[in-house]
Amino acid sequence: MSGAQSARKTSYREAVKEAIREALQKDERVFLMGEDVGHYGGCYAVSKGLLAEFGPERIRDTPLSEGGFVGAGIGAALGGLRPIVEVMTVNFSLLALDQILNNAATLLHMSGGQFNVPLVIRMATGAGKQLAAQHAHSLEGWYAHIPGIRVLSPATLEDARGMLWTALQDPDPVLIFENNTLYNMEGNLSETAGPVDIDTARIRRSGSDITLITYSASLYKCLDAATALAGEGIEVEVIDLRSLRPLDDATYLESISRTNRALIVDEGWRSGGISAEISARIMEQGFYDLDTPVERICTAEVPIPYARHMEEAALPRIDTIIDTVKRMVRHG
């Protein structure tokens, strides 16, 4: 991009690390705690180097006690700190689900507004590395079912860099899901990159024929499909939800009012997933804009298998997105 302000090459991993570093520098109350965040340098190397910089009090290695340290994060937030709790992956967060749902999400309400929980929980999510059925699920859509928490899914370097600070300013618990396949993604990030809003969806590519609604790593599958389809004269609009709770209905409904078609691409399972929720909202609020039924491409309803060809078959794929779009556009 010519004329851009000075930008530098970085990675998603580095962008998250810079966000954590900035938060630790700007606010004394902020600390990072989780498994292997210190001496190991972070399961995905996100916090590598931070222990030396900030010391073991603020880069706190925890025992393998997910329920315990997530709960302790809630308590520390109640006690006046601003914890960033890292759970290695969403799969292990299930050991802390009780604390997240029964404490973090409900304390404000149960206490009649007396106790809010300003806590940020970060975790990796997603498949694609042949990690099989206990390490590869995408459960962020599940978390989006819970009132009382916010659920974010940064897909870009800007969002990886900018969502954390805004989340820390929020008086309520915020969960940030980082897709494990994005950490190595490289790109240019402006020198002035900083906090971003965490309320709105973004149109990542404009088009007039169909709206693709997606988030996180699936964004890139959709953008690739859109590029391929442009070669065939089909103009695809791609929306990155960014926040799964609350959902920014206005952005995708406005888009559908122009394209009259909607396809949702979601790495979660189909039944009862976030894709079902979005589809229902379109039906409720945008039904008369549609030329063709809303469709969904989700992960097959199977625990993620290990073998590469089976894992690939289970996940949303670019070729199925392309085929589905063509069918919807031609028949709609």
Binding site: H39, K48, Q134
Partner: protein, 326 residues
């Protein structure tokens, strides 16, 4: 006074440890060659634990293991072929390629996995033992877990239930001093794991996990205690992994010197020395064992290479059982 060594038995233990070592070395190679993918956790250095413990179990006993379980699976008697093919993701693998390295299962040897959620196997082991006790079966369920798992609530809940209900569980802690990159001194207020049994009024012991014969003796004593109806037992095996946690670990958290010091206690070399000192093993015998094991590993690789891919049409099989027993 030392007890005499049973040559055949000791040689069998040595062969099993060698098989695990060479199998794991080959697996690392195949990982670099991208034949094996996903997470791969090697057991190199810890062989004496699985081999010693399995020697104390009967074929009827049940085993629950973790994601670092190739050693347990081999020592339990599963074929190297079926494990290797599983890691290739082939249909001929023990789980048809659905599980991979972290999820080795085998009903014929009562090998209940292959659990990759730290601490996830512990309550399941309690349940297996509960079934045995309610159905009047006299067998032991041996549950392997790491020092890291001891920090999970599941460990404490399982210890309590097993002790409370006097269930036949052998809690087998492989204390290799690290949970991934976090040393036990950073995770345990009480790093003496065997001592934790006291709080549950459970019997326990700690043993040198680099000495296969000591492990076998300690595990046999524990298993006897359990079989006699005295309830569960916690056995802590003090061991060390020579390799990184997984293939992604840059080992920033420990020094080369520390690893070298532990390598001086290599369980395979230790047993080899002991047998040759006793005049029960010469260089030729050891070389013959090596050859024999190399053949087994090579044939496992050939078996995996020749294996087939499961048709994609089968994707959603095994989500629900096909037949409902009425």
């Amino acid at each position: 006074m030392t007890t005499p060594i049973d040559k055949n038995h000791a040689t069998k233990l040595l062969r099993q440890m060698l098989l695990i070592r060479r199998f794991e070395e080959k697996s690392a190679e195949l990982y670099s060659a991208t034949k094996i993918r996903g997470f791969l956790h090697l057991y190199i250095g810890e062989e004496a634990v699985a081999v010693g413990v399995m020697a104390a179990l009967t074929p009827e006993d049940a085993v629950v293991a973790t994601y670092r379980e190739h050693g347990q699976a081999l020592a339990r008697g599963m074929s190297a072929d079926s494990i290797m093919a599983e890691m290739y993701g082939k249909l001929e693998g023990c789980c048809k390629g659905r599980g991979g390295s972290m999820h080795i299962f085998d009903s014929s040897t009562h090998f209940y996995g292959g659990n990759a959620i730290v601490g996830g196997g512990l309550p399941v082991a309690v349940g297996l033992a509960l079934a045995d006790s309610m159905l009047g079966r006299n067998r032991v369920t041996c549950c392997f877990f790491g020092d890291g798992a001891v920090a999970e609530g599941a460990f404490h809940e399982s210890m309590n239930m097993a002790a409370l209900w006097k269930l036949p569980v052998l809690f087998l802690c492989e204390n290799n001093l690290y949970a991934m990159g976090t040393a036990i001194r950073y995770t345990q207020a009480q790093p003496d794991i065997a001592a934790k049994a006291v709080g549950y009024r459970m019997k326990s012991a700690a043993v040198d996990g680099m000495d296969v014969m000591a492990v076998e003796a300690a595990a046999s004593k524990a298993a006897d205690h359990i079989r006699q109806g005295n309830g569960p037992y916690l056995l802590e095996c003090r061991t060390y992994r020579f390799r990184p946690h997984s293939m992604f670990d840059t080992e920033l958290y420990r020094s080369k010197e520390e690893v070298e010091q532990w390598k001086a206690h290599d369980p395979i070399e230790k047993l080899t020395r002991r047998l040759s000192d006793a005049g029960l093993l010469n260089d030729q015998d050891r070389a013959a064992l090596e050859q024999d094991v190399a053949r087994e590993v090579e044939s496992a690789v050939a078996f995996a290479e020749a294996g087939t891919w499961e048709p994609v049409e089968n994707l959603t099989s095994f989500v629900y059982s096909e037949r409902r027993e009425l």
